[in-house]
């Protein structure tokens, strides 16, 4: 480690077998971390190790997990979406405003906002080659301005969501054990995992992220793939925003903004490379769950906001370091 040639470290022959096994199965490490965190939280607050305690964590993690799904898809292409927080907020705003017209209309229009904003991001990145960080940052700023202005005019009115959305985002079934939003998350997860692993489109996302030039030369129309990817990401962010609005019951312009950085963190903890081409959504799911448990633990510790931020940052750093160590690459 003293001299830094940045080559991936190959597992050495004299390494113990478990180390090699762990390097091949990084998700097992994440699972282990998750279990340890749950147990530690249980030690801090014994009542946590119950159906309702764990339910609360899943309730917290589901919107984050869906938003991190958007982040995972884009990070695989070598991009990133810094507008997920604002897209989610905007979608929730529209859904709340349309709630008097029926839940279906509200959800559909909310998702529409995400799809549209995402597609615009995709055009910027895919066609005009604007750097994804700048494109989505600017989109975020545009949405903040637009929705602040709209909330005084066109979107004035309802800021609470319909009962159906409330139940979807905050309710549970099976005797208050399984939250509905976990069901939505599970559905989304299956779609994303299947889409990334089994469909040609999913493989194109990996191809573009791994080597954009090679992908282009082998006939991939990158711009189309990217527009679709950003649109899907916008859609997922919007879905997360609507679920979030259902959980809190009412919307405001700060609703999902604080989810932006954790959504990146969840994907990164889950082993998705920020440079593209490497990663999976199953890792991100574990990442989102870990962050959910962490948030619950910090609430139980009753630490001030400052300590919470520090511990949060330290754990993200430690997990990323651990992941790099275990897999022997960055």
């Amino acid at each position: 480690m003293t001299l830094g040639t940045r080559e991936p470290q190959l597992p050495e022959l004299n390494q113990p077998r478990w180390a090699i096994w762990l390097a091949d199965h990084p998700l097992a490490v994440l699972g282990g971390v998750l279990v340890v965190l749950v147990l530690v939280t249980g030690v801090i607050q014994p009542s946590y190790l119950s159906a309702s305690g764990l339910r609360n964590t899943v309730l917290l993690a589901a919107p984050l997990g869906i938003m991190a799904g958007a982040q995972t898809i884009l990070m695989l292409t070598g991009g990133i979406d810094l507008s997920v927080g604002m897209i989610a907020t905007a979608a929730a705003y529209v859904a709340a405003h349309q709630s008097p017209n029926g839940s279906l209309v509200a959800i559909a229009l909310g998702l529409m906002v995400g799809l549209l904003a995402g597609a615009v991001n995709g055009v910027g990145v895919g066609v005009f080659r604007v750097n994804p960080i700048i494109m989505t940052l600017a989109m975020s700023a545009i949405l903040v301005g637009l929705f602040t202005a709209l909330s005084f005019t066109v979107l004035q009115g309802s800021t609470t969501v319909s009962d159906f959305i409330s139940t979807l985002g905050g309710g549970s079934f099976l005797g208050n054990r399984i939250p509905y939003n976990a069901l939505v998350w599970a559905g989304v997860s299956i779609l994303i995992i299947y889409g990334l692993r089994r469909t040609g489109y999913g493989r194109l996302l990996y191809a573009i992220g791994d080597n954009p030039v090679a992908a282009r030369l082998s006939g991939v129309r990158s711009w189309q793939v990217l527009i679709a990817a950003y649109a899907v990401a916008g859609l997922l962010a919007a879905l997360a925003g609507i679920l979030l609005a259902g959980r809190t019951g009412a919307v405001d312009l700060q609703l999902a903004v604080s989810f932006l950085l954790p959504s990146v963190a969840a994907a990164v903890i889950g082993g998705t490379s920020i440079f593209g081409g490497i990663g999976s959504y199953s890792g991100t799911i574990l990442g989102a769950l870990i962050l959910g448990v962490l948030a619950t633990m910090l609430t139980f510790l009753n630490a001030g906001q400052a300590i919470q931020q520090i511990v949060y940052g330290l754990i993200v750093l430690a997990l990323a370091w651990l992941y790099a160590r275990v897999t022997g690459s960055s």
Binding site: M1, G4, T5, R6, L82, G124, F128, R129, V130, N131, I133, I134, M135, L137, A138, M139, S140, A141, I142, V144, G145, L146, T148, A149, L261, V264, A265, V268, S273, I274, F275, G304, Q305, A306, I307, Q308, Q309, I310, Y312, G313, L314, V316, L317, A320, W321, A324, R325, S329, S330
Partner: protein
Amino acid sequence: MTAAPVEVGRTGLDWTSLLRRYGWTTGVWLLLIALIAFYASTIPNFGSFQIASIAKNSLPLVYLAIAQAIIVIAGGIDLAVGSMLILTNAVAAQLMDGQSLGVSLVVAVLVILMAAAINGGVGWIIYVSRVPDIVVTLATLFIIAGLALIVLPSPGGGTSDGFRAIFTGSTSGTGSNFWPALVMMFVPMLAAARWMKHSRTGLSLYATGSDSTAAYLSGVGTLKAKVVSYAVGGAFAALGGLASLAITGSGESRFATASNFTLRSVAAIVLGGVALTGGVGSVVGAAAAGIVLFVLSPVLSAMGVDPNTAQVIQGALIVLVMMVAGVVELRRERAE
């Protein structure tokens, strides 16, 4: 991605390559001048008060843009510059409250050194852990903001009048004397630019950012480059924290301020012609873009645009500029 063909034995001025090298930076400065000229024509009484206001209020973002530019040119990215701004702001506000100018200056130097030490440590962690810069600094964004909140739990603290005058030109923070703010803007900027382009260490940052393996193999200390770029970036972020303390006269440690400043610093460097892939760009361009981003809001409000619409226009303008740049780049690639 456009490697110019090497031509041997060529002398004299090569306008194409000059334009390629300095075109973007010059363009951003011309844009800034045009914006200010336009601003001057829209408001009835443009004078030294407005110049002073623009110069001093854009200082924090200019410093952060320089900080981010140095780090990105060296091949990194620091999402925690905004946190460093509020941490240094909080520490300085606590220590300078009710003190004399002399004590304030000592505190200022110590705060800058502290920021450089912390951020140098972050650079070291990035190098040793092999975790990507953006991930490590995402974590330190939270950690450093948390530290700031511990130092200054609620807005408060203060500084000496003399210290406010150093950055703002007046002991009350508002006035028509624009020279101190301009000096505080241009001296550190030109010093950083000279250091980056003409010193051994500065050039090693460009080399490392351009291709760290090639730089390492040709004997450049890549660990040193990483640590130095983050340390100097931290020092500039500290200048930003001190400047915002001088402007407002009291400290503040809101997380929203930190993440906002970070995002704007990234926008500023990209607009200023620094490539996020490293090795390309200059601090001078980034600084100009920082001022442009700041000046846009008074310009739009002078035009009678309400703040929310102004934000939409600002975002759209950034995208538009980057789109034009993207298309120009694409055409150049096709032509070659």
